[in-house]
């Protein structure tokens, strides 16, 4: 199981909401309070493609993109499974953090 870095996880999260092109992923990440540069994004996307966790899609129907050659990305089944597994791992960690009083996560 390759290590899921923070950058990888952030992109997985963004793609979990549906097909995205590069800039949209960065906007999602920014909205979530994170920050990522263009170079890091595309290196991460390359890795996701290599791992088979994401795949490229040409512009989906209905999108009138300014750039016809724009690439879209979406999670594969393997990618979704990997994202789920990593989320469960983080969940366990967050439970411990909550027990220490470091986070309000998990409290109603």
């Amino acid at each position: 199981m390759p290590e899921v870095t923070a950058a990888l996880y952030q992109v997985l999260l963004a793609l979990g909401a549906g097909e995205r092109h590069g800039y949209a992923i960065l906007q999602d990440i920014a909205r979530g309070g994170g920050r990522m540069g263009a170079a890091t994004l595309y290196r991460t996307l390359e890795k996701l493609l290599e791992l088979g966790w994401a795949e490229e899609v040409r512009a989906p129907r209905g999108e009138t993109s300014r750039d016809e050659r724009r690439r879209y990305y979406r999670l594969t089944a393997a990618g979704t499974a990997a994202a789920r597994a990593q989320s469960r791992r983080l969940e366990q960690l967050m439970r411990q953090a909550a027990a220490r009083g470091w986070t309000q996560w998990g409290r109603a």
């Binding site: 590069g22 540069g37 263009a38 170079a39 890091t40 595309y42 290196r43 390359e46």
Partner: protein, 407 residues
């Protein structure tokens, strides 16, 4: 600088494959995102480095696997490199240490040997050691030197310390060891009083001899019997001290008389230290002037005799020098043969892998990527071969040093 310019330049640092795929996208997104210049540039640099590192890691893994599947080839290459690199490293270390490198004495570039030269120093030179009178006269005239010293071989038989043994030793003027500049580890140098004719016998020991005799610190001040005479031990030289050569075990005073008139018995090896700022050529000219002056006074003995001054470094005896240069030549031949072997091995392997590479190219691997893989594999072999070579050199060096004659 315009953003597009430096951005394009930094994008060029990325591996070619990545650049072809994503450079346009990165530029487009960067235009939309517009992050401040410095973090953006830093991000590009960091990611370029990381991308190259990833490829390196991949390629190393591939290379290791590929070599493991061809153990004959790998061991052949590593062996050839080890022999070539190891032999040359060992031999060159030896040659440098003996012939080329500076001597382990303070300001060793000031140390020179002084010889008599017949038929002029420009042609057909026959060099000789000095006779006693010339040594005295040249010492007086040689103001370009801060000191001169003389020595000659004088082995002595040690008795009274277990089985009698013949010790390699030299007679040395009191000026000699101080001018070389390395003080004794224990005790003291010869004083001018020790060096007068008729003075009581004194001796300085080498570290090896002192250890052989029990390494007793109280040995200094006691007497040893050399050639059936009592010699008081006054000092011990440091370990590894090798003037005039590593075989010397004892130094005893020359006890020359300053009024000696012998001008025909040439057996003194003379060493001098140039005054700082004085060139060797100037000092030699000074002595040659004195030699010319003396030749007029003593034409029978000294006609045609002049001075010849040379740096002390690199003054190994001729057989040793020839042996060392021959060794170096031999090692270079070994290297040449190793290179030819390597070229053959690599070429043969490349030919046998043509199918593998064409398959990989058909599957989409770019040409640059394949070349890079090959290069990484070769570098891995080179690293292993180099390491093996250094190990071999470490083993070889003491063996070689043993086999070159010490004198």
């Amino acid at each position: 600088m315009k953003r597009q310019v430096w951005r394009a330049a930094l994008l060029h640092l990325f591996p070619a494959g990545f650049r072809q795929e994503y450079a346009a996208e990165i530029a487009a997104v960067d235009d939309l995102q517009r992050p401040p210049a410095l973090p953006a540039a830093a991000g590009l640099l960091a990611n370029a480095a990381a991308a190259h590192l990833d490829i390196l890691r991949q390629d190393l893994r591939l290379a290791a696997r590929s070599l493991r599947r061809a153990p004959g080839f790998a061991s052949g290459v590593i062996l050839a490199m080890a022999l070539g690199i190891g032999a040359n490293t060992a031999v060159f270390s030896l040659v440098y240490h003996v012939l080329l490198g500076p001597l382990p004495y303070p300001h060793s570039s000031q140390l020179v040997t002084i010889q008599e030269s017949e038929f002029g120093p420009d042609f057909g030179r026959a060099t000789n050691q000095l006779d006693r009178s010339d040594y005295h006269d040249w010492s007086v005239a040689g103001t370009d030197f801060s000191a001169l010293g003389a020595w000659t071989s004088q082995p002595l038989n040690l008795t009274g310390q277990g089985t009698p043994q013949r010790l390699e030793g030299i007679l040395a003027t009191a000026s000699l060891l101080p001018l070389i500049g390395v003080p004794p580890a224990r005790g003291r140098w010869f004083s001018p009083a020790d060096d007068r004719p008729g003075a009581p016998n004194t001796v300085i020991l080498s570290d090896a001899l002192w250890r052989q005799l029990g390494a007793d610190p109280d040995l200094i001040g006691r007497a040893l019997t050399l050639d059936n005479q009592a010699y008081t031990v006054i000092g011990v030289m440091p370990a590894g001290y090798a003037f005039p050569n590593p075989a010397i075990q004892i130094w005893t005073p020359f006890r020359l008389s300053p009024t000696d008139t012998d001008r025909s018995n040439t057996y003194l090896n003379v060493v001098g230290r140039l005054r700082s700022g004085v060139t060797l050529a100037a000092a030699q000219a000074q002595l040659q002037g004195e030699a010319a002056r003396l030749a007029k006074i003593y034409p029978n003995d000294l006609t045609g005799i002049t001075a010849y001054v040379q740096p002390l470094a690199g003054q190994a005896p001729p057989q040793r020098r020839v042996m060392l240069w021959a060794l170096l030549g031999g090692a270079l031949c070994v290297l040449l043969v190793a290179c030819l072997n390597l070229a053959n091995l690599m070429f043969a392997r490349l030919l046998s892998r043509r199918a593998e590479f064409s398959t990989r190219a058909a599957l989409g691997a770019g040409r640059e990527r394949l070349l890079r893989q090959l290069l990484t594999e070769t570098l891995l072999l080179a690293a292993l071969g180099g390491a093996a070579g250094i190990g071999l050199a470490a083993l070889l060096l003491p063996v070689l040093a043993q086999f070159t004659p010490a004198d």
